[in-house]
Amino acid sequence: MKKTDLKKYLFAFIITAAIFLTATLLSGYFNSKKIDELRSIEDTISLDILSTETQFQLLEEASCEDISNSFLSQELGTLGERLSHTEDRRGSDKEITDLKRYYSLLLIKDYLLMKQVSEKCDFDPVFILYFYSNEGDCPDCIREGHVLTRLREEYPQLRIYAFDYNLDLSALRTLISIRAVENNLPALVIDDTVYYGFQGIRDIETIIPDLVDLREEGSATSTDPLPESSAE
């Protein structure tokens, strides 16, 4: 009878299992670092918005020029992209959902603040509220995401806020209710009008004729990310 060294089989198994365990621990460590990084960005944005709000309250005593041009947090876009990527990789677990809810809240606050500042300071940005779903019931959301990403690159002053329609967040539900957005996605809110279904680049340029002027003005401001991948 030939030899089979069972101890060796067991030893190899233990080493392999140890490699797997180490990989799992390393993965957990790196992933928690990433979540920490996302939280840190959210905290920074939150602080930025609070600061802008405070500046805004001081407007009565100060001129519009005193308000920092950077109040529109540059990091909202980065955060959105990273959240979308993490959601793709991990799925919508509780940790990700919480981060996403906080992020959506920040988007809404940024949107409201921008509206107030633009009224006071005679600043006229174009807003697009984009509602998508990533529950597999919105095949056109992927294409709409591409269109809005492209528009954002082409018209830097265009302010696009993307919201997951199904996210459980009372502020978002209120926004949806105020704008009377139905669950017929993708949906865009432009100048208080809701547009349902896929809108191509030309459609949006037709809806917003001022876009061409914006292209020429061209100063870069941050906008939110467009989760074409999370719409999958």
Partner: protein, 414 residues
């Protein structure tokens, strides 16, 4: 996200990693034996040896093969070459006859019947202690036979296989095979220590005469008679070892088509012979071959197919995504998205395990190169060719071999 394909992938990675770890343990366990073998290779006696050279249309390589055999350092009265022309339709017979007058050479001609018939014919023409075979597209190193003879000092050793290297690699395909053969040298040495060799390759494997007397001659064995006879020997508990310093050089297929045909035959032969010898599977009395190597051989075929399917599926998905994007907004590159960002580095467990598996595979390949060429040469082009192309072309013949087995389609030699 944990899905069924990911779970299967984890399982495949675990088993692959387990095998590589097992090989590494075997290597470290036998490092002293390896050193002893390398230092002490001169045989104390020289058994008589006959080398069978079956040939079918080998007019271009036969003369060099015979000349390399004649230049072997081995007592002339103990060494004989038997050329068997298996019904060649080219000038092979005339080339063979130019050696007919040599005292160590006998030339025979028979009707074409396939390699195994030529070998069996040759077996009837010799009474030597040891009988080997050399394909007529292979050449031997001068001291290869002496190094092989040394291993027959152990009376339990019934067959010794050499280390096969690629002869004069010229194109990308042959350089790629050069790395593959180097890895094969390492693998076969480890399988030798595990007593789990499942093939006695055509180029210069030497077998004791009594093996044929006991278990019979070569069989058709799905055109892989060298694999079948090894399995038959293993089923009888015979010891097969590797003389890793006995080098044989073989001409490898220079074109994709020829490589495909060769590998299709090998893979098909492995599957069919494993099916024929399925009684060897998962029985402790047959040793590591039964418990580990044969099951892993089958596993590797299906894991390659599964992994390839996953990769192809992902590529198709990406192409569809890109098509949707281009058809929606036209072709456009956002250069700012191309900036490297560590955040997007995949740090999932499967990715870390995959990277570990990849690094370990490269380490084993480099160890094979060290064993074969004396140095690792980690930055050589042939290693790049191997990494860049092999994984893409191997699944093709593996898939076809499985298809042929499932639908009972036979493979041919040429």
């Amino acid at each position: 996200m944990i899905t069924l394909p990911i779970i299967i992938l984890y399982l495949l990675f675990f088993i692959s990693l387990y095998f590589e770890v097992f090989l590494l343990i075997t290597y470290f366990e036998n490092s002293q034996n390896l050193k002893n073998e390398e230092e002490n290779w001169q045989p104390s006696f020289y058994p008589s040896v006959s080398i069978l050279v079956p040939c079918f249309n080998e007019e271009t390589t036969l003369a060099r093969t015979i000349e390399s055999l004649l230049s072997l350092e081995y007592p002339k009265d103990k060494f004989k070459i038997i050329i068997i022309n298996d019904g060649s339709t080219d000038n092979t017979q005339n080339v063979a006859m130019t050696f007919a007058s040599h005292p160590q050479i006998e030339v025979y001609e028979k009707e074409n019947g396939g390699k195994y018939t030529a070998l069996n014919y040759g077996l009837t023409k010799t009474t030597s202690d040891l009988i080997g075979c050399l394909d007529a597209d292979s050449f031997v190193n001068k001291n290869a036979l002496k190094k092989i003879a040394k291993y027959f000092e152990d009376k339990e050793t019934m067959a010794v296989i050499p280390s096969i290297k690629v002869h004069n690699p010229k194109n990308i395909l042959q350089h790629m095979q050069h790395v593959e053969y180097s890895w094969g040298i390492f693998l076969k040495k480890m399988l030798s220590y595990l007593q789990a060799l499942y093939v006695t390759p055509g180029p210069f494997s030497i077998i004791r005469r009594e093996v044929y007397d006991t278990i019979g001659n070569y069989r058709h064995a799905h055109n892989t008679e060298d694999l079948e006879i090894a399995l038959r020997m293993q089923s009888k508990g015979y010891k097969i070892v590797t003389a890793h310093q006995a080098y044989v050089y073989t001409v490898t297929p220079p074109t994709i088509k020829k490589l495909y045909k060769q590998r299709l035959r090998w893979t098909y032969g492995f599957i069919k012979n494993t099916i024929d010898y399925r009684f060897l599977l998962l029985k402790r009395k047959y040793g590591n071959l039964s418990i580990l190597i044969l099951p892993l051989g089958i596993f590797s075929i299906f894991s390659v197919l599964y992994f390839t399917t996953v990769v192809v599926w992902n590529v198709i998905e990406k192409i569809i995504e890109k098509y949707i994007e281009i058809s929606t907004i036209g072709f456009h590159i956002n250069w700012s998205n191309l900036k490297p960002d560590l955040f997007y580095l995949n740090t999932e467990t499967i990715a870390i395990v995959g990277a570990t598996l990849f690094c370990l595979s490269i380490t084993l390949v480099l160890m094979g190169r060290k064993m074969a060429d004396g140095q690792m040469k980690p930055l050589s082009l042939d290693l790049f060719y191997f990494l860049a192309f092999y994984a893409f072309i191997a699944p093709v013949w593996i898939a076809k071999a499985v298809y042929n087995v499932v639908f009972s389609k036979k493979t041919s030699w040429r």
